[in-house]
């Protein structure tokens, strides 16, 4: 593969990943950002603007599962740190890494995403409200009529 292709592949991968994945720490949306002010267009990174950090991200299903695990099992990988929101985020990120590693080695996860259909346990979704695009359009329509 030529160097040009390598660079183009990287840009393509980062764009796809930022659109599909979420932050391992906060679960927030990722974006592509040019962190360093330089003339090289290739020097971009995936960034979480919520955490203000460079991220690689994880699959949203893995994040939800990791968050549920940390909360339900009171998992704490950092017993020496204060028990606060930041430590909880670090714990979720740690579990995300472990789950992603396991999924990868079991063959369920490739760089492009899951290779198998995922059915999340409803308990993991917790109080999350899932609205599909159709419902969202209906909601907007009724709001405008009302």
């Amino acid at each position: 593969m030529t160097q040009e292709n390598l660079t183009l592949n990287r840009l393509h991968e980062l764009r796809e990943r930022s659109a599909r994945c979420c932050c391992r720490f906060c679960g927030g949306k990722l974006e592509i950002r040019k962190i360093i002010f330089t003339g090289y267009d290739a020097r971009i990174e995936i960034f979480c603007s919520e955490c203000n950090r460079i991220e690689y991200g994880t699959e949203p299903e893995i994040y939800l599962s990791a968050k549920y695990f940390v909360e339900a099992m009171q998992f704490n990988y950092y017993p020496d740190l204060d028990d606060n929101g930041q430590t909880k985020k670090m714990n979720i990120a740690k579990v995300c890494d472990i789950m992603a590693w396991e999924n990868k080695h079991m063959g369920f996860l490739k760089p492009e995403g899951f290779t198998v259909p995922i059915e999340l346990n409803p308990a993991i979704l917790g109080n999350m409200l899932v609205i599909n695009e159709e419902e969202l359009a209906q909601q907007k329509c009724s709001e405008s009529q009302g």
Binding site: L6, T7, R10, L14, F25, Y40, R43, E45, P111
Partner: protein, 267 residues
């Protein structure tokens, strides 16, 4: 004859109307060990960030390992340069975890921009252990002390087995023992490998006998460039520092810089 690994011709870096670097002519051969010396604001970090591919020069020519930086060569070149610069990376790393920072060195990027193998993780952890920060591998960078952060950046620089090692004030923030260890390590790398070393320091006592070349910068321009015995001399350094100084060697062969008092100056 040794290959040229860095070559600049009339290289400039401009920010607005202000020149951060102006007309830099410099050539570094493979296996050479250089000291870069200059006051704060003389353009040292700007020069190094351009060489490492993290800043684009605005005029002139820059070749690294025989290639010119562009969007296609950027990462393949960048990962061959182990760059340690707290003053640069401090601006970008805060809550990023230590292990991921070290792994980013494999790609020449700031973050981990691709899938990583178990071998890579093992190598990163081994380097962190070697630099006494293995127990901090899952911590955010900002939670580490200055010395520990410096060690993380060294591990990051080494993970890609670089051809050029650029150490920008690596002794800053280290305690006395850590600095001694660092100097011994630099000496060992210089004596036992073919890695080109570029070492920036404000402290002449860090300039060991393994360094044979010196680049002196002042206000973004090269003031002197060549063999250390010819460049790191009282007269030239007095010019760089803006006041009369005297360079001497102690019994261990290390350089000492002393301010000249008025009487010595008159003599």
């Amino acid at each position: 004859m040794a290959k040229t690994v860095i070559k600049t011709e009339k290289m400039c870096c401009q920010s607005g109307r202000h020149y951060l670097l102006k007309d830099i002519d410099w050539e570094v051969k493979q296996g050479e060990h250089w000291i870069i010396f200059g006051l704060n604001g003389s353009g040292k970090t700007t020069l190094l960030s351009a060489i490492a591919g993290y800043k684009q020069h605005t005029a002139g020519k820059l070749e690294v390992l025989g290639q010119v930086y562009d969007d296609t060569t950027l990462f393949s070149l960048s990962k061959q340069i182990g760059w340690v610069s707290a003053s640069f990376f401090d601006k970008y790393y805060s809550s990023e975890t230590v292990l991921r920072i070290v792994l980013s060195g494999l790609f020449g990027t700031l973050g981990v921009g691709a899938e990583i193998s178990d071998q890579d993780v093992k190598k990163a952890r081994a380097l962190l252990e070697q630099w006494h920060v293995g127990h901090k591998s899952d911590m955010p960078f900002s939670m580490l002390s200055k010395g520990e952060q410096q060690n993380v950046l060294i591990a990051r620089a080494l993970i890609s087995d670089p051809k050029i090692l650029v150490l920008d004030e690596p002794g800053t923030g280290l305690d006395v023992f850590a600095r001694e260890n660092l100097l011994q390590w630099v000496k060992k790398i210089a004596e036992t490998t073919d890695i080109t070393i570029i070492y920036v320091t404000h402290y002449p006592e860090e300039i060991q006998s393994c360094f044979e070349k010196c680049l002196l910068l002042q206000h973004g321009q090269v003031l002197a460039n060549g063999n250390i015995d010819e460049t790191f001399r009282s007269g030239v350094l007095s010019n760089v520092l803006g006041e009369p100084v005297m360079v001497q060697k102690n019994e261990n062969g290390l350089l000492i810089l002393q301010r000249k008092n008025r009487k010595e100056e008159e003599l």
